[in-house]
C-alpha cells in the first residue's frame, strides 16, 4: 500500500530507501555507523531496567554476535531496533535517524529496511515456500514478474533453488529457517537482525545457518546475530557484543572484517 503513504511518512521513508545492501548512498551517510545506541534504557519493570545505559555502534557491513545468558536482554535489544518496543531513555539511530521518534505509521517503512529472523522461524506453514518469501516483496507492491525473479534468486542463495512450490510445513527445521532467511534478504535490506536463529536446530545445521548469514554478510549486508551458543561464537572471530545484567559489558572487536585500526570505535563504556 505504498500509495497510502502520507507526506509525513515520506520524510521518514525516503532516506531509508537508500540504505540497501550494495547501494551507494551519499558519502556522508556511508561513513556513519548504520546503527547507534546512545544511552539506551529499557524498562519492563519500574525497579529493574532490562537494558541500562547501552552505548553501541555498528558499522556498515559488520557481522556481530550479540551474546549473554538467557534473559540478559538480547532479544530486547533487537526488538528495540525493529520497533517491537520503544526505548524508555536514550536514542537509537538507524542510518543516522532516531527511530525512537518514528510515529507508529512509519514503523512499517522502517521494517522494510530490516530483515528479521527468529528462533521459531515464523514462516507460514500452510503457504508454499515461494509465498513465504514473496510476501516481503508484495508488501512493497513490486510487480509480479520482478517478485518471481527476486524470490528465485533469494531461494538460490539459501540453497532452496527450485523448491518454491513445496508446502512449507513439509520442510525440515533447517530448511524452514532457510525460507525465513530468504524472506529476510529478498528485499535486500541493509541490516539483518537474527534472534537465536539456530536455537531450534542441531549443531551441524546451526553451523550451516551461521555460514549462510556470513555469506549474506559478504555481499555487504550488516548482520546482528544474537545467540547464547558459545561453541558457535567460538568457531568464528566476529565481533562480540555481550550483555550482562542489562549492560553491554564486553565487546570483542571484529578481527576479520574490521581491522585493529577501527577497534577504538567499538569500545563501550
Amino acid at each position: 500500500m505504498a500509495s497510502s503513504r502520507s507526506d509525513d511518512d515520506d520524510k521518514v521513508v525516503r532516506p531509508f530507501a537508500f540504505f540497501r545492501a550494495g547501494a551507494r548512498a551519499d558519502a556522508r551517510a556511508a561513513n556513519k555507523p548504520i546503527l547507534t545506541f546512545d544511552g539506551v534504557y529499557k524498562y519492563f519493570r519500574e525497579d529493574q531496567p532490562t537494558l541500562k545505559d547501552v552505548d553501541l555502534e555498528v558499522e556498515r557491513g559488520e557481522f556481530a554476535f550479540i551474546t549473554g545468558p538467557s534473559g540478559a536482554g538480547k532479544s530486547t535489544l533487537l526488538q528495540l531496533v525493529y520497533r517491537k518496543h520503544t526505548v524508555d531513555q536514550g536514542r537509537i539511530l538507524f542510518c543516522g535517524r532516531d527511530i525512537a521518534r518514528l510515529t507508529p505509521k512509519s514503523i512499517p517503512f522502517l521494517r522494510r529496511n530490516l530483515g528479521v529472523v527468529f528462533q521459531d522461524f515464523k514462516v507460514v506453514e500452510h503457504w508454499t515456500v515461494y509465498e513465504n518469501v514473496a510476501i516481503a516483496l508484495e508488501i512493497l507492491a513490486m510487480p509480479r514478474r520482478l517478485v518471481r525473479s527476486r524470490v528465485a534468486e533469494a531461494l538460490e542463495r539459501v540453497g532452496l533453488a527450485g523448491r518454491g512450490q513445496e508446502k512449507t510445513c513439509t520442510l525440515s527445521g533447517g530448511e524452514q529457517q532457510r525460507v525465513a532467511v530468504a524472506r529476510a534478504i529478498v528485499s535486500e535490506p541493509a541490516l539483518i537482525l537474527a534472534d537465536e536463529p539456530t536455537g531450534n536446530l542441531d549443531p551441524h545445521l546451526a553451523i550451516d545457518i551461521l555460514t549462510l548469514f556470513e555469506e549474506i554478510n559478504e555481499t555487504g549486508t550488516t548482520v546482528l546475530f544474537a545467540t547464547h551458543d558459545h561453541s558457535l561464537i567460538a568457531s568464528r572471530d566476529h565481533r562480540i557484543i555481550s550483555i550482562d545484567e542489562g549492560r553491554v559489558v564486553e565487546a570483542r572487536t571484529g578481527l576479520r572484517s574490521w581491522g585493529t585500526a577501527k577497534s577504538g570505535l567499538h569500545a563501550v563504556g
Partner: protein, 288 residues
C-alpha cells in the same frame, strides 16, 4: 490484495460458508417481507387510485330520476367517468368474470341490481368521497352506495403493518449480519495470526493487512444477500402462476417481484454491512 482475499476465502471456506448460509436465510426473511409489502401496497394503490363508488339503484327506479342523478354526478369536478349498468349488463359482466357460469347462468337478471359506477379523479380526499356518497344516498332512485372504505382501511393498515415489519426485520437482520460477519472475521484473524505477524514484521501497513479481511467481509455480506435474492426469485417464479390464477384476479392486480433497484440495494447493503462489520472487528481484534 484481491489475490490474498481470494486465498483467505478459500482457506476459511467452511467458516464462511456457515456464515453465508445463515445470513442468506436472514436476508430471505427481509426479502420475503419486502415482497409481500410491495404486492400489498400495489393492490392498495390500484384500488385507492381508482377511487370507485358503486351506486346501486332501486328496482323500478324511474328513468328520469336516474338521468338526473347521472347529470349531477357528471357535473361534479371529482368524477372522471360515470357509467350506468343495467341489471342485464351486471349479470353479463358477472358471468363473464367468473368461471362458474354453468351453475349461475340460470340466475335471473333481477338478482343483479342496476347500478351507476363512478370513478373519482386521482387524489380525491376520502372526506369528499364520503360527502358525495352521503348526498347521493338521499336520491330517491338510490338504494345503497358502496365506497369500499372499510376495505381500503383494512388494506391500508395491512400495508403499513407490512412496512413496519419489513423495517424492523431489516434492522434486525442488518444487526445480525454485522455481528455474524464481525465474528467470523475475528475468528479468521485469530486463525491467521501467524501470517499477520509475518506481514507486520516485513513492514506491511495496517491497510495492507486489513484490506483482504474487509474484502472477505464485504464478499460474505453481498453473497448472502445475493443468494437470498436468487432463492426468493426462484420461490416467486414457481408460485407466481398459482398466485395469479387464484388471488390476483380477485384483487385486480398481478403479483410483482421486487424492483431491480431494491434487489441491488439489498446486495449492496449486505456488502456494506459486511465491510463495516469486518472493519470494526479488525479495529478491535487485530493487535499484532
Amino acid at each position: 490484495m484481491v489475490a490474498r482475499a481470494r486465498r483467505g476465502l478459500r482457506e476459511e471456506m467452511r467458516l464462511y460458508l456457515v456464515a453465508v448460509t445463515s445470513l442468506s436465510v436472514a436476508f430471505l426473511c427481509v426479502g420475503g417481507a419486502l415482497l409481500a409489502t410491495t404486492n400489498l401496497s400495489k393492490v392498495a394503490e390500484r384500488w385507492g387510485e381508482s377511487g370507485r363508488m358503486s351506486i346501486y339503484l332501486r328496482d323500478g327506479a324511474r328513468a328520469e330520476d336516474v338521468t338526473q342523478l347521472r347529470m349531477v354526478l357528471e357535473g361534479l369536478p371529482e368524477t372522471t367517468t360515470v357509467s350506468a349498468l343495467t341489471s342485464q349488463e351486471a349479470r353479463a359482466l358477472f358471468l363473464e368474470q367468473s368461471d362458474v357460469n354453468s351453475d349461475l347462468a340460470g340466475l335471473p337478471a333481477e338478482v343483479f341490481p342496476a347500478s351507476i359506477e363512478v370513478a373519482m379523479a386521482e387524489g380525491t380526499p376520502i372526506q369528499r368521497v364520503d360527502a358525495i356518497a352521503e348526498r347521493v344516498g338521499r336520491f330517491r332512485a338510490v338504494s345503497d352506495v358502496e365506497t369500499y372504505r372499510s376495505f381500503f382501511d383494512r388494506l391500508g393498515s395491512l400495508v403499513s403493518a407490512g412496512t413496519n415489519l419489513a423495517t424492523v426485520l431489516g434492522l434486525l437482520v442488518g444487526l445480525c449480519v454485522f455481528a455474524v460477519i464481525g465474528n467470523t472475521i475475528r475468528l479468521a484473524v485469530a486463525r491467521r495470526r501467524a501470517e499477520i505477524e509475518v506481514m507486520k514484521l516485513c513492514g506491511a501497513t495496517d491497510g495492507f493487512v486489513r484490506g483482504p479481511f474487509v474484502l472477505e467481509g464485504t464478499f460474505q455480506g453481498a453473497m448472502s444477500a445475493l443468494l437470498a435474492v436468487i432463492a426468493l426469485g426462484l420461490v416467486f417464479a414457481s408460485m407466481r402462476g398459482a398466485i395469479d390464477r387464484s388471488l390476483a384476479e380477485f384483487l385486480g392486480s398481478r403479483a410483482v417481484f421486487l424492483d431491480a433497484w431494491v434487489l441491488f440495494a439489498l446486495v449492496l447493503g449486505g456488502g456494506l454491512i459486511g465491510a463495516a462489520g469486518s472493519a470494526i472487528s479488525l479495529r478491535r481484534y487485530l493487535t499484532v
